[in-house]
């Protein structure tokens, strides 16, 4: 339904979108500058700061670590979150009401508190490896997204088709893979993407669980910014934005962009 | 107060799809006209055009002689009853009913008096402070009706108002709607896909198909004398048999159908009969009989089903497949032979149609 909108409101919206997109364009511009300091508009065009990312070993290492953690924690969250979402929807009566709230807790509890508590009461207390603690922390962080997105796609799933499959002789586990999963496919893709992006970008948990020897990309970016004011950070930012664009393209291809609006 | 509605040669599009073509309709003062048809026939589009939620590509809409076509919806002063009631969930029953009065600057004692009086008329005075979420379907419908009536609009429009109610309530509510409408004498347009509902409630019914009105008439005329094959099928003439007059003999004619089947028809029952016509019969209008001596259409009997008041037979004839009824007292055997004798009171003649 399109109705007439007051021109002042349209003008306001245009300004808002300049405000939203402008700063990101500035980051891209600064990354292309040929100068040794950050500036915009770029002075001279160069890709050398992109090459510089990979010359700094800390960036090489943290990019790898961040990808590993994002993949592992997303995988764990899907592995635990899909059955949990299924149980919450299918056995609603059987399970206590607070269980759904429990899975929202990682969003409700401030991330900083979670990160600090993981450091103090898990990593230090039980001497668990930092990498493993990071993976579990990130799994927790993204679990609510998985549970919520899968629940949303299960809400429109007609459980009687599952019963139809079982009545036709399909064993429960096979039914799960051949009937249920294909029907919540878009939910799984969306959950994966949301979880992956959230993990890659996390600061508040990781900041407590990094130190000598292990760090993630956003933490490394923060550290780099404190010492240097060169366009390297802008270049890394562009890479991260490219990742976002890629992810949005995947969403568009598989689910349609209207999905993002939900 | 009440005014006549005049829709003049309206054409409307959704994007590039034409949904209404050159549609004209006059609704007289105090008259209730139903728009009846399957989904996608254009009946709701017509209503939304009159309400102002859609703009016609061409044509004109006038209420009491005043052109509405370019007026925004909120200036049209038309009472609307929606399919899913469209009650404001955040407002009490009384505030819902009073909403239109508030927009008209009616406030204070007068407003609450009129709201109260209207709620009493629909039997909901005791629920005035409830929120819509706490009401049953029938109660919601009454609130929606009260909300549309209280502003005393010159035109009332109903968009499938009863389709969300159960069967029993539907019948009660349509009587109630008709009584309120007659008591106020408000000109009304009523959109529905339910034939019984349309026929029972309306002064006239427009049967719509593919964006056009196929026939506009009183329910009685539509039911007994459909003007064309579409309307005939729509009101339940199962058998349409194309025929050709082969002999005229005073008050009688003899006509032949495909396969050489001949029937004699009396002009006093059917009026003038053109040389080429279609004989339309309901299943009740073709009596299946074992008496081979009777004049009728020879048929091989297929499946027999029990209707309660009669048996129904799926028949195979030289004039094509037909459906006929037979008495309960003498069931005929499936697979046997019979004659199908037209019952003139249950049949009608359709003149040949000009290709649309």
């Amino acid at each position: 339904m399109t109705q007439k909108i007051h021109p002042a409101l349209i003008g306001f919206t245009v300004v808002v979108f300049f405000f939203l997109v402008g700063p990101l364009i500035i980051v891209v511009g600064s990354a292309l500058s040929d100068t040794t300091y950050l500036t915009f508009p770029p002075q001279g065009l160069s890709l050398r700061w992109f090459a510089n990312i990979f010359e700094i070993s800390a960036f090489r290492r943290t990019i790898l670590t961040s990808l590993q953690i994002a993949f592992l924690s997303t995988f764990i969250a899907l592995l635990l979150g899909i059955p949990a979402a299924y149980a919450l929807n299918r056995y609603r009566i059987q399970l206590p009401g607070w269980l759904a709230t429990l899975f929202v807790l990682p969003v409700l509890v401030p991330e900083l508190v979670l990160g600090f508590s993981l450091l103090k009461n898990v990593a230090v207390q039980f001497n668990t490896p930092i990498f493993l603690t990071l993976v579990f922390g990130h799994s927790l962080l993204v679990l609510p997204y998985v549970v919520r997105v899968i629940s949303a796609s299960l809400a429109s799933f007609d459980f009687s088709i599952e019963e139809a499959a079982i009545s036709l002789g399909s064993p429960p586990l096979r039914t799960f893979f051949t009937i249920l999963l294909p029907n919540v496919r878009s939910g799984v893709i969306a959950a994966f993407i949301l979880a992956f992006i959230t993990s890659i970008n996390d600061v508040s948990i990781s900041i407590f669980l990094t130190g000598p020897g292990i760090s993630t990309l956003p933490i490394q970016l923060l550290a780099h910014m404190e010492q240097f004011f060169d366009p390297t950070v802008a270049s890394v930012s562009v890479l991260l934005m490219a990742l976002t664009v890629g992810v949005m393209a995947i969403v568009e291809r598989t689910l349609g962009l209207t999905f993002l609006a939900k | 107060m009440t005014k006549a509605l005049s829709i003049q040669s309206i054409t409307a599009h959704y994007g590039t799809t034409k949904v209404l073509e050159d549609l004209s309709l006059e609704v007289g003062e105090g008259e209730l006209v139903s728009l009846l048809g399957a989904s996608g026939c254009g009946k709701t589009t017509t209503l939304r055009l009159v309400a102002g939620f859609l703009q016609p590509t061409s044509g004109r809409i006038a209420l009491g002689g005043i052109d509405l076509t370019r007026l925004p919806p909120y200036k049209r002063d038309i009472g609307l009853v929606f399919q899913n009631y469209a009650l404001f969930p955040h407002l009490s029953v009384a505030d819902n009913v009073g909403f239109g009065l508030k927009q008209r600057g009616v406030a204070g004692a007068e407003k609450s008096q009129r709201v109260q009086a209207m709620l009493e008329r629909v039997g909901l005075a005791h629920l005035a402070t409830r929120l819509p979420g706490e009401l049953s379907g029938g109660q919601k419908q009454r609130v929606a009706l009260a909300r549309a009536l209280v502003i005393e609009p010159p035109l009332l429009m109903f968009d499938e108002p009863l389709s969300n109610l159960d069967a029993k309530l539907r019948v009660d509510m349509r009587v109630e709607i008709r009584q309120l409408q007659r008591a106020n004498g408000t000109t009304s347009v009523y959109v529905t896909h339910d034939q019984e509902e349309a026929f029972s409630i309306s002064d006239r019914v427009a049967i719509m198909h593919a964006g056009r009105i196929m026939q506009l008439d009183t329910p009685e005329t539509l039911y007994q004398r459909p003007a064309n094959a579409f309307v005939a099928r729509f009101v339940g003439f199962e058998n349409l048999i194309p025929m050709r007059v082969v002999e005229r003999d005073g008050a009688k004619i003899t006509a032949e159908a495909a396969g050489g089947v001949r029937l004699t028809l009396g002009l006093e029952q059917f009026g003038a009969i053109p040389d080429s016509f279609t004989l339309a019969c309901r299943a009740d209008g073709l009596a299946a009989t074992a008496d081979a001596a009777r004049e009728g259409i020879p048929a091989n009997l297929g499946l027999r089903t029990y209707l309660g008041r009669a048996y129904q037979y799926q028949c195979d004839t030289a004039a094509g497949p037909l459906v006929a009824n037979g008495p309960l007292t003498r069931p005929l055997e499936m697979g046997g032979h019979a004659k199908l004798v037209p019952v003139p009171e249950q049949c009608t003649i359709l003149a040949p149609e000009v290709a649309a």
Partner: protein, 274 residues
Amino acid sequence: MKRFSGWTLASPATLLVVVFLVLPVVATIITTFGTAGGPLAPYLGFFGSGFRRTVLWRTVQVSFIVTAIAVIIGFITAFVISRSPGWLKSILIIAAVFPLLTGVVVRSFAWLIILGKNGILNSVLLSAGLIGEPLTMLYTQGAVIVAMVYLFVPLMILTLVGVLEGIPQDLIQASASLGAKPSATFTQVILPLAVPGLIVGAVLVFTGSFTSYATPQLLGGEQVMMMGTLMYQQAMVTFDWVAASTIAAVMVVITIAIVLAMTRIARRLNPMAV
């Protein structure tokens, strides 16, 4: 899948949350009550320190301002988006989702470039002759607020577009058919129905601002210390874990209290849930 009970399927995820979230966080909070100085000593210490009280007050203040601005900008923008034709709506939603999927560090960094001493804003203002020498914009409360508004406006827009699109078109048409002018429909129908969603969005922004770390760290630094940056400093710079735990406890209590109170209000105001 009768053979699996609901608990069997839900227990691994439950275990993860209990072991790695509930227990560690509860332990963090409990330790603040078992210190040598008495059960409430860390809290007396926290609220007794003028500096920490200032930080708490500043955090509340900044979060409140950010929320108010984000609500206003978000609501107007979402309203325009929800009224836009399909193709434009898609583009605008993409333009709002993109920043949301871009990380906090990148988005805060953008403002570092803009607001810096030799940043874009200063060079524009200088060359326009509006100022004689560069303004100090970084490491001010204003910088933190601007960057946080930037951070949370997309979230607000997307939440409210969902809310506004969820209002049935029928209600708006019913309102018009009853003679309500567009402005009356807006104030009497759309706005009251959007308020519960507005509250939910506002809670997200407020708690997000209240517990943020990267943005105040980058754009506020030592000068504009907020709860998150103070907690990090106590934990990782001065290694006063009791103080850090106390701040953690205060943050948990305040965020959960706000979330519970506001969602309760939102639920009470939500007539569609009846």
